[in-house]
């Protein structure tokens, strides 16, 4: 995948690999990981509107690259355990950067219409169609509430 313009190709590769670790693919494989799904584009567009955020992301990428080098290779070339080690170290050493990365990854991932159906939600906007929710049968509701009604009043006299 080509990287969004705001990052170099190397940064984009690193970012995609980081995103794949942050939100991996679902166990059934039906929902791809965040990097594979293109969530980097969401991060890029958020950063474009917000220079402070862009700086945080860039700092995070540089920091992750350093941590990977300390483990002997580019992040993408490390084995899974070492990649997780890099992220754990980033979380410990740069919590502000890491939280920003998590927040924006989750926002980019879960704002996608093609991810929502995995959780039972519609891929449509919630309005105007909404969801089917059957009305409660009044008799059944009355049965459910019978023990509550049977109690004496439960507010204090004044």
């Amino acid at each position: 995948m080509s990287g969004p313009a705001i990052w170099s190709e190397a940064e984009a590769r690193l970012l995609n690999a980081l995103l794949d670790e942050i939100v991996p693919a679902s166990a059934d494989g039906r929902v791809p990981a965040a990097g594979a799904l293109g969530v980097a584009e969401h991060l890029a567009s958020s950063a474009e509107d917000d220079p402070a955020l862009a700086a945080l992301f860039r700092e995070g990428l540089a920091h992750a690259a350093r941590l990977a080098e300390e483990r002997g290779a580019a992040f993408e070339a490390l084995d899974a355990a070492k990649r997780i080690g890099v992220l754990e170290a980033l979380e410990r050493e740069a919590p502000e950067v890491f939280t920003a990365l998590l927040r924006h990854t989750y926002m980019g991932y879960y704002s996608r219409a093609d991810v929502r159906p995995h959780f039972g939600l519609s891929d449509r906007p919630t309005q105007p169609e909404g969801y089917e929710l059957p009305e409660d049968d009044p008799d059944e509701l009355a049965d459910m509430l019978a023990p509550v009604r049977a109690r004496s009043r439960c507010y204090r006299p004044t």
Partner: protein
Amino acid sequence: MSDDPVDVLIVGAGASGAAFAWSLLGSRMRILCLEQGPLITDAAFPSRNPDYELSRYAEFSCDPNVRRLPQDYPINAEDSPITPVNFCAVGGSTINFLAHWPRLHPSDFRARTLDGVADDWPVDYATLAPYYAQNDRNMGASGLPGNPAYPPYEPPLPPLPLGKLGRTLARGFNRLGWHWWPSDAAILSRDYDGRAKCVNAGTCDLGCATGAKASVNTTYWPVLLRAGVELRPNCRVREITLDENGMASGVLYHDPEGRLQRQRAELVVLACNGIGTPRLMLNSKSKLFPDGIANRSGLVGKNLMFHPLTGISGVFDEPMEGFKGPMACSILSQEFYETDPSRDFVRGYGLHASRWTTPMTWALGGFGVDKPIAWGSEHRHLMDEVYPYSAGLTVVTEDLPRESNTVTLDSELTDSDGIPAPRITYTVDDNTKKMIAHGEACAEEALLAAGAKRVTGGGREVWWRAGWHQMGTACMGNDPARSVVNAWGRCHDVRNLFIVDGSIFVTAGAVNPTSTIQALALYIGDSILKNIGNLFD
């Protein structure tokens, strides 16, 4: 814009301002409302966009410090574990509110007499009951009559569906023999008054494009505009002005171009919510009132109350489908609402079965929280195996008034017109902390009784972005030394200045406040009409 004096000038076009204006419609008074926010239509609501959830963290956040729109005022909440949230537009915070619609209990108006804490209100439940009912008709409220937690009343529309989540939790309460009832909601369960019923979209905080949720821009405002009430959006009031007799003469406000204008009025009515109203009063300094208008008691901005809350969730065997149906309104247990001398706290709390929210918000920590969940394989586990199977209970506690919980003016922060912004200084008191501990334990018991395999959450932490309800900052009372307004909302110190929002609450109860805020606003309007002959005596 004309400076012709109006009879009644209302500041704020939200829940309370709209209801109050309605109460004067028969009077032929010339009514003007100034609102700092714009007039928005349902086409602007993000629930119609494919990436609707993103708006919750941007221009449709309930947090003005996140939205940062020109019509918003920033709020410095560095000294508070809870940050106030709102919306600034015609409709006020009812644009993004969740429309849960419980009333206060009769005992809430008598905390001093019954429990020896806080103060009694100068009005009681019986006085407000007809106004609650009128407002329920005006807004279109749904609910089931017969709740043993209240004196009898009948919502105009039948209850909303409980949904799978509500039914599951109700079984738990029944197993324990605890009170629960289908939630009252200011949401239509049937088509009503030209508005369509709820389609169970579940994102009520992103604006209800269907119009089923009773935002006052869909309920009161169309009626008010047809009746000739003048509404000026994008007009922010800077200061309430005084005449030589110490009566309010009108206001200074910034027009949509930011220019300062003067508007004269016979009556000035504040409806800016529990933070905006004391802020405006504190910003209205004069020789007569160097500490802010109508503040001889020193209580303007004091006694700020929220409803500190926390949540516990249970993980069940089947998907709970919590994203279907109005977010906040399913069932409500008031088993622990009234004072019980055997507990280590006075007053009480409610257990609210909120529906579960959409995946992004869950991944970011939940509605009202700002703490992203775990990443990596744990993330997948939480999202795939916990989120869909979860149902939660929110512990909504009563906050007691304390003078140390305050709204003051920030020395540096301002809004886009350069007006000093509010600063919040607030701590959660020990009584509330005990309620939260008790509530977490009981919520856990109820979830397990309902069949949860395990429970998560709690830890005694109150939610941060949950200052939804703002009360007490210009309280009512009969004694001018211990209150700001009298029993019908008139400032003791300035007899043509009225307050109609939640600032005037004496206590907070442990329920969402808006049905009470509006009932009070209608009552105050009626009282003005009844006292019109000697209004300023």
